[in-house]
């Protein structure tokens, strides 16, 4: 038994096991997504996260140990964001023709996300630090955390709310936009990118290449817009 325990501690303390399990959990999540007939509520990220959280809980592994393996995947978020320039480049001509609708969607989406979130939470009696953590939650994680620090929020809480927002957006976007009868891939992708950053953008790429490119654009634009919108909204409510 003690040999088994020693063997386990050897494996679990290196990055190899957790990197491998992260990829395996993602493949399992993706398989579930395909088996379901690509249903939006069978979310690949969500399934992978639940599988890994269950493994960490069952083996009593701290997140820090897990992240030593998972950081190699996490690191690629930066180069992936830079890569979004290519699908943007492909849609540049269509983008130029749609400059006004894009700006309208940015103003409407960014303001609605921050105002409605803070208004609802304030009405439900949420405290000022939590409101400040909530206001930038539609921006991509590093931006949202930076803004939260400046407006008096708690960065860890903001990180939680940002990821939750991304997963909610990825799950609800397709049924919601179908119900609204919006068929324009530009509108669909852009709105998802503005409201639910990179996780929504990843979901948009699963659905349609144009939607993915416009989602990447929406994420980038709202990263900038939220820096101005979030402090303004908090000033209104605090």
């Amino acid at each position: 038994m003690s040999e088994l325990a020693a063997f386990w501690s050897y494996l679990s303390e290196g990055p190899l096991l957790w990197l491998g399990l992260t990829l395996a959990a993602y493949v399992a999540g993706d398989a579930c997504f395909r088996w379901s007939g690509r249903r939006p509520w069978v979310n690949t990220v969500l399934i992978a996260v639940v599988i890994l959280a269950a493994i960490l809980w069952a083996t009593e592994t701290p997140y820090g140990i897990y992240f030593e393996g998972a950081q190699f995947v996490h690191f690629l978020l930066g180069p992936a964001t830079v890569s979004l320039a290519l699908p943007l480049f492909d849609t540049l001509g269509r983008l130029r023709r749609a400059a006004l609708p894009v700006l309208a969607a940015l103003a409407a989406g960014s303001l609605t996300a921050a105002v409605s979130a803070v208004a609802i939470a304030a009405a439900l009696g949420v405290g000022p630090v939590e409101l400040a953590s909530l206001a930038p939650k539609s921006a991509t994680a590093p931006v949202a955390i930076g803004i939260a620090e400046r407006v008096g929020g708690a960065p860890t809480l903001t990180a939680v709310l940002v990821i939750l927002t991304g997963i909610v957006g990825a799950v609800v976007a397709t049924p919601l936009l179908n119900a609204m009868g919006i068929r324009d891939w530009r509108a669909r992708g852009l709105a998802v990118g503005i409201a639910s950053h990179g996780i929504g953008t990843a979901r948009a790429f699963q659905v349609d290449a144009t939607a993915g490119a416009f989602a990447g654009l929406g994420m980038a634009l709202n990263a900038i817009a939220t820096a101005f919108v979030a402090p303004m909204v908090l000033w209104l409510f605090l």
Binding site: G78, D90, L100, V143, L157, V172, R188, I199, Q206, G212
Partner: protein
């Protein structure tokens, strides 16, 4: 593939350095994306060269959010007693924001006649 990675990392590095030096509120990778877009516009052949690697990364974009997502599970307790209220706010505001953004785009596209090709 290695050449493309060098270009991507160089853009990100320039973005991170620029954000820090100029004290910009926008994160380095987003500035890096704008720089990369500028490079591709100036030299369209770069798009052809970089495409296989860049599209390979983007095809698995969802995977890259898994480590951060696992971190969230551990922090769910930080939501505390306000968890339900915050969850309602996140879900409702995200639904409203997607609806408002998409509706605004369609409306203004119709008004300005900015139809797709």
């Amino acid at each position: 593939m290695i050449h493309t990675l060098i270009v991507l990392l160089a853009c990100q590095l320039a973005g991170e350095a620029g954000a820090r030096l100029l004290g910009l509120p926008v994160p380095g990778p987003v500035i890096g994306m704008v720089l990369m877009l500028g490079l591709v516009v100036a030299w369209p052949r770069l798009a052809v060269l970089a495409r296989p690697t860049a599209e390979g990364i983007l095809a698995n974009l969802s995977l890259l959010f898994v480590p951060a997502g696992v971190g969230v599970v551990g922090h769910l307790s930080t939501l505390g007693t306000q968890a339900a209220s915050l969850l309602v706010a996140v879900v409702v505001s995200t639904v409203l924001a997607i609806a408002a953004g998409a509706a605004a785009f369609v409306l203004v596209a119709r008004l300005t006649g900015a139809a797709d090709e």
